[in-house]
Amino acid sequence: MMTEFLTRLRFFIFRKKCGDLDDELQFHLEQLISAKEAAGLTAAEARRQALIEFGGLERTREQCAEQGPGWWIDTVLRDARYALRAFGRNPLFTVAVLATLTLAIGATTAVFSVMNAVLLRSLPVADPDRLVYLRTSNPPRGTGTIDSNQTFSYSVYDALRRQSRGLSPVMAYVPLSGSKVAVRYGEQPEEAEGDMVSGTFFSGLGVNLPRGRGFSEEDETKHAPIAVISYNYWTRRFAADPDVLGKTLYVSGVAMTIVGVTAEGFEGVEGGGSTDFWIPLQNRRELNAWGNPPEDGKLYIADSTWWCLRMIGRLAPSVTRAQAVAQLQPVFQTAAYVGLGSPMEGEKPPVLSLADAKSFPGYEQQFGNPLRMLMAMVGLVLLMALANVVLLLMARNAARQREFSVRQALGAGRGELLRQLLTESLILVTAGGALAWGFAEVATRLLGRWAEIESSLAPDRTVLLFSLGVLVFAGLLFGLAPLPVALAGGVEMALKTSAATSNTDAGKSRTARIIVALQMALCVVLLVGAGLLIHTLRNLENTPLGMRIDGLVVFGVKPNIPSIPEGVAFYQNLMNKLRVLPGVESVTIMEERIGSWWSNNSDMEVDGRLPEVANGASRTVRSNVAGPDFFRTLGVPVLAGRDFTDSDTAKSPHVGIINEQFAKRFLPNQNPLGHTIGPDNGQYTMTIVGVVKDHKYRSIDEEPIPMAWYMYAQIPMVGPMHVEMRVHGEPLAILPSARKAVQQLDPNLPLIRPMTQREQFDTTISQHVLFARLAGSFGLLAVLLVATGLYGTLAYRVNMRTAEIGVRMAVGARRPQVVWMILKDSLWLTTGGMALGIPLAMLVGRALTSSLYGVEPLDAFSYLLAVAGVAVVALAASALPAGRAASVDPMRALRTE
């Protein structure tokens, strides 16, 4: 074996000389001739017989070559060289195919990467199939929640944790802030996303901690001041410093010792974001759940009316989900009323259920439908693109029929032709695939940024397999689809002399015509989809917000507040400092940042009782806590009464402001000023002193809803606030001086997510923007593909029919008739495509309904636009070939025969 390998290697490097074999054979032949002569034949006869006996040389040559090492490589290289030469001769074709493949496969891979990362990939934990989220049908009466189905009180967590046998362990986790929390490592204050978690969090999930350690149950009971940071945060913020363990991270001013770094890929179980660090559940006012100020002096641990913790559990070994629920249900239903008193009569008790936790929570809700839709769209584009390349290849190979015939006539077998075609396809697909992968990398990153997906989108094995699958499919398709056309000529064709007459078989292009018609149908679908989404986006962008949005800048502050008067004083101080900055017109504060999806929702009492509402309409009021000059700063018109002012203080009568909707629904046909309103627990009342015009609170696409505002200086709690400033000129330019003002009050305070108010509102439609942009580009791509596909097919047909057209013109056809002949062709294709596409588009429009805003799924405008678009493109793509057909010179066309 070894000898053979070494020998072959030697021959592979030092090739046998080309002429050697020929010399050898020549010698053999001469010997044969002399042998015959020696046997008595004449020289001529000896030569004749010897040559007959000797037989063909070519086969021997080939067989000898086949024995040699690297013969296989030689063949492939030869095929490849041949293919490359052919591509080089036809650069336009090559560029068109590569560009099509790059765009289509790249876009598909990118969308798939995102979908994979967001919807398909499992949590990077041990045995994710056994993890479940805890859900409740509803919270008990008299409680406040973060999410009415997904959050629980600490007392529920505590009971479940102690008494659960079905789930082991039950873990709780809760963010330290609705967005980011102030942290400090070294000097500069900054912000990061952090969660408080159970002591069993890392061990229960089965998260690896290659560096340091996780938490223990003791850490939870002792509220240990320690932190684990994510791999992502470690590399991003700490430059993967191995000495980070033992260092101090200040979280809201509280020193935490870093004890561990999670394995790469684990970014928490919070949906839609990536958690930077975790600390054990704490019990101190600076680190209350969600960063809220304590309510009635109670932190989340003591406040059983605040359902704010999320929970995740691991099914105990050999326990089914149903068994676990059965065991936990009574425990849960008892624990739910701890501290709340007994349930009211007829009150529906909350019911516990378990939901799959194997993939990231929230993502499905947030991105599920849009992503699936995008995947479908990009899939259609991919299909069209592949079809286009097949069309191009078919046209190209039809034009090469003579070449194939000649090769067959010269002895190339079908196998060899197939090998040649597959080699060509392999080269195209490999080159296209490499380009597409590069394109996909960039596109994935862009997509992630636009969609504000913070978790890692790095392609994993699934993505790689997906792309490889697409490529292999494309490779086989491109290799095999043109084969029938290539072989159709057969050997005989080489013998026919006329290129023109041999190419007139009409039937061959039927496949091509069907493909083009299907492409048009898909194009209509994509254009209608794009039209609907772009129309939606226009509607959203042009939705009036009800305020003067330009010139507003917003940022959050999260001061350390030891007592309510000190908190109020801090904000009053801060506003006073900010108001006098040059260029500032007015300043106010608010608890919930407007345009960030957040709001306080509750029922409200009017004049001491819950208001009557007609036929079961909702009593929900969205409220916010605001500072002085709130509406003047926002530019919301005050319709009656007044705005909050500095003179509304804790000592003055409690005042509140409502919007038109509130007045209309709960105080119809009367002057709302002077009525009292308050939360439904009756513990706080305020007198309405102003009615303002309806405006947007949470997002751009919300419907008008009753809203009410509390004065921040009067309510019994004060926590982190957002500062809103109206400034002259560029809003963001005020930030450095604002930052200085904040840090004069407390050097530990960063500005949290500073941005213009318009940007803030735009985040609520960022998904629509992304969706519309992508749909638009896919639509454009589809149009481009249809145009090239149609143009290619028609141009090819005109070329093939040059002789026929020449004859027609010679016998009296006029140019308009010839043009019509070609246009008729494309007209048929277009009509057919549309007839198929419009019903399909209606189905798609129905599926899109939930993503539309102010647009009917059967929006006539979008359909007209799509149909017109396809028609124009079809016309444009056929104009050139028709023009060429009309300019055929009959004499020349006939003479080439």
Binding site: E4, E24, F27, F54, C64
Partner: protein, 114 residues
């Protein structure tokens, strides 16, 4: 022309190796030798001979060098390598075993002749 007998797969290699065991020889010589020794039963055409020679050479069992023939013509001479000699021994042993076995099956075995 005597009908040429189709050679068993692999047998040609054995014949060539055996022939070359006598000394270096060119392709024509190998073919002639096999034909003579087999009393014209085995005629090796160039179409099988040269691919076989090349195959053996690539396997490292024979080597080739250019030299001059008896009538002073340039010819390629093949000779057995050490590996080839070993291969010949193995193949001969295999052949013996095989032909004995076939002979036994055909009822012309050793007992019949004894």
């Amino acid at each position: 022309m005597p009908t040429s007998t189709d050679l068993l797969q692999g047998t040609l290699d054995l014949l060539i190796l055996q022939t070359l065991a006598l000394g270096p020889m060119h392709g024509w010589g190998v073919a002639q030798r096999i034909q003579q020794v087999s009393k014209d039963v085995l005629q090796i055409g160039q179409g099988s001979l040269y691919p076989a020679l090349h195959r053996l050479e690539y396997k490292g069992w024979i080597r080739s060098d250019w030299g001059s023939s008896e009538n002073n013509r340039r010819a390629k001479f093949y000779r057995l390598t050490a590996a080839g000699r070993k291969q010949l021994e193995t193949e001969l042993a295999t052949w013996d075993r095989l032909s004995d076995a076939i002979a036994l099956v055909l009822g012309r075995g050793a007992e019949a002749s004894s």
